[in-house]
Amino acid sequence: MTSPWKLLAAALCLSLMSPACTSKNRLEGYLYQRLNADPTTLDPAFIVDVTGGSIAAKLFNGLVRLDPDLNIVPDIAGKWDIRDSGKVYTFYLNRGVRFFNGREVTAEDFRFSFRRILHPLTRSPNTWVFDSILGAEEFMKGQTADVRGIEVLDAYTLRITLRRSFAPFMNLLTMTAAYVVPGEEIERKGPEFSFRPVGTGPFILKSWEHNTELALKANEGYFAGPPKIRGIIYRVIPEDLTAVTEFELGNLDVIAVPAYEFARYSRSQEWQGLISSGRGLNTYYLGFNCSRPPFDDAALRRAVAGAIDREKILATFYEKRGRIARGPVPDLLRQWDAPALHPYDPAKSMAVIDGSGIKSRVVTFYVNADQEVIDLAEIIQSYLKTAGITVAIKQLEWSAFKSAINKGEADMFWLSWWADYPDPENFLFPLFHSSNHGPSGNRARYTNREVDRLIEAGQRTPDRSLRNQYYMKAERIIAEESPWVFFWHKTDFIVKQQQVKDHRIYPIYTIDKGTGVSF
């Protein structure tokens, strides 16, 4: 090789080998995390995804929030009282809480924020969070100019009156949709508020390079005390293996352990001590279309449940990354005993299936085009084939899948439900009440008047133990009638770098304000 060529090669090597691939070009004091997709919006009125919600939790605050043990604790409201059998809520706001633009938060801001979500022109998908407020329905229909049930008593006192008692209401106020936003910024920025949000939270949006990187910096003036880190960098990395590579190079501080890497990490000497787990508030299930044959027959649904060895699938295929579900309500929320129903009993199942006439037809099983779900669907298909049921798996990408199951096209479908708020009601009312067939949550199209009555009674009962009685009875009937095959509640696993301290997984993303973690 001639000398100019050697020089050129050396220059190229040097330029390529500079430390961009290592952790040396990181911002000091910043926590590097991965997002698998760019958040669609950071405006609380429009957030419906976990990605956006987990970031919004660090930028905004509400009246109340959840602590790690799922208790409702003060956020901007320092205290509150609940009167009139859980119909009237009065919140007393802390003074001196400021938006990033320097203006103090008042009760009027909460009125504005809640009213904005209900306003027909906002077209928020989160209206259901506030539709139990007195006058909300009339306001949403454009019949009134204001929401009667939201009153500003003075600059720091807000009163909310509900149409009727609704026990989970305080839980609803912990959701991202209930975060306070400054009206003047919404007016000034219009749709841009989604990408340049102004909140009150422990972090401020520093930059957002869409689909690449989103940076938050610590809000030193945060009313509950500044974070222990300088900021958080979220890197958008769609591919799991790329994220794992970035993590192992030290370019990410924390990642969720991908399913196919779980065995390697949990056996690795280097990483096993740095893995932590958290029980998620979710339920994974196989749903039946209960509104038409063949699965309008509860005995047949039970037979299908008994034909699938869920324990074995969880232990082998799912590598024990979850807990067996005994009903729709996650173990973390259930404060009553739930018996294990429909155990694996192929002989008993086959007897029912033989007499049902289902053998003469093909059952459609809709799944979304996720490889793990497809693999699982094939396992279920195999169990049901053994039991005498021919299953045709139909893979659809997410949008088409949701559209199909919302319309009730499938005989069976695979889905999961993740808590919006930590109350058993969130796993009963949207999913099993007959008023919620289709996109409202009850995609199994299950109808049982007694279950409806029990859920409604639970919603109206402020007393927790009595409420739990209603929920327990409703869940027992549901588990017995088996509109779903209850599979498991997924446990989340994360792995972190050695230097990251006090990083936890929370059952609901809104709990994580990012103020506990440090280096």
Binding site: S15, L16, M17, S18, A20, C21, T22, A37, T40, T41, F46, V48, D49, P120, R123, S124, P125, N126, T127, W128, D131, M140, P191, S194, F195, E209, H210, N211, T212, E213, R235, V236, I237, P238, E239, L241, T242, T245, E246, E248, L249, N251, L396, E397, W398, S399, A400, F401, K402, S403, A404, N406, W417, W418, D420, P430, P439, S440, G441
Partner: protein
């Protein structure tokens, strides 16, 4: 272009799936769904929707994404340069390497060299990009720690995705160049040039390579054009914010304005690249000139 908008519009609307269901999340009441559908204009007839889209195009706009509410044109303005950089990077690797390897395979007096190069090009063609990309990342980033595995920034971030994307094109170019050069080497005018006592270098470059480049230019144009429409897998693996990933996400979410915008931009770039290839033909092959001659 009008035809493309019509076909794309009809096809996207014919797809199963409804963007509104994805927009509203897992729990929504029929009233909210109706309100959002009205806001998107999805409650209107398909002809009205298409007319509305054409009017938007006439105003020089591509609409806003259903999900992010950002202007599609603004997003595309960011992503097109990224895609162009990746496509150009891939072609910068693939073209010289492919042509040189093709030439070497064709002109080598050793059968072994030809076989090795041909074998390598078959492997290059057969390897799926997601596999070669991940293998390159594993080797170069994780094990050798030479290049970053993902992200955007300087040249270092471009090398791995560009190399990954270049492999199939490199293999195709090697094979096309080899076949083309082999064919031209047997032509009478090459024998004549040799008889005239011209140097081997001049014969190779002026008489063989120049003529062999006509089919090669076609392949370069086609590959470059398709890369400009986006390289979904490469962009996804390396977290490259290009038009391919953008279009794919749009398709998955049924984000119609994004899908339409991407198709229009891709069609435009494909047409432009083909025009460029036609211009290159003009220089490479005098027979294709429609007027005059410089000889």
């Amino acid at each position: 272009m009008l035809g493309i908008t019509l076909i794309t519009f009809a096809l996207t609307k014919a797809l199963p799936g409804d963007p509104v269901y994805s927009m509203v999340g897992e729990r929504s009441d029929p009233e909210t769904i109706k309100r959002i559908r009205t806001a998107l204009g999805a409650d209107k007839g398909i002809v009205d929707q298409y007319r509305g889209y054409l009017l938007l195009l006439l105003r020089g706009e591509l609409g806003r994404s259903y999900y992010t509410n950002r202007k599609v044109l603004d997003d595309i303005r960011v992503k097109v340069p990224m895609t162009f950089m990746l496509a150009a990077g891939a072609m910068l690797i693939a073209v010289p390497a492919g042509i040189l390897m093709g030439l070497a395979a064709a002109l080598s007096s050793r059968v072994r060299t030809d076989r090795i190069i041909t074998g390598v090009s078959v492997i290059g063609l057969s390897l799926p990009v997601f596999w070669s990309g991940l293998m390159l990342m594993y080797l170069v980033s994780l094990k050798l720690k030479i290049l970053p595995p993902s992200g955007t920034g300087g040249l270092r971030y471009l090398v791995l995705p560009a190399l990954t994307l270049s492999l199939p094109a490199m293999a195709t170019l090697t094979r096309i160049t080899r076949t083309s050069v082999n064919e031209i080497t047997t032509m009478m005018y090459v024998r004549t040039a040799r008889a005239k006592g011209l140097s081997e270098l001049r014969i190779t470059v002026v008489h063989i390579l120049r003529n062999a480049l006509i089919p090669v230019a076609t392949v370069i144009g086609l590959d470059f054009g398709s890369y400009l429409s986006g390289a979904v897998l490469t962009e996804t693996i390396f977290g490259w914010d290009g038009i391919g990933r953008y279009a794919m996400e749009g398709i998955m979410k049924r984000d119609y304005p994004v899908i339409m915008g991407c198709v229009i931009v891709s069609t435009l770039s494909f047409v432009l690249i083909n025009l460029l290839v036609d211009i290159v033909y003009h220089y490479l092959d005098p027979r294709l000139r429609l007027y005059g001659t410089d000889r």
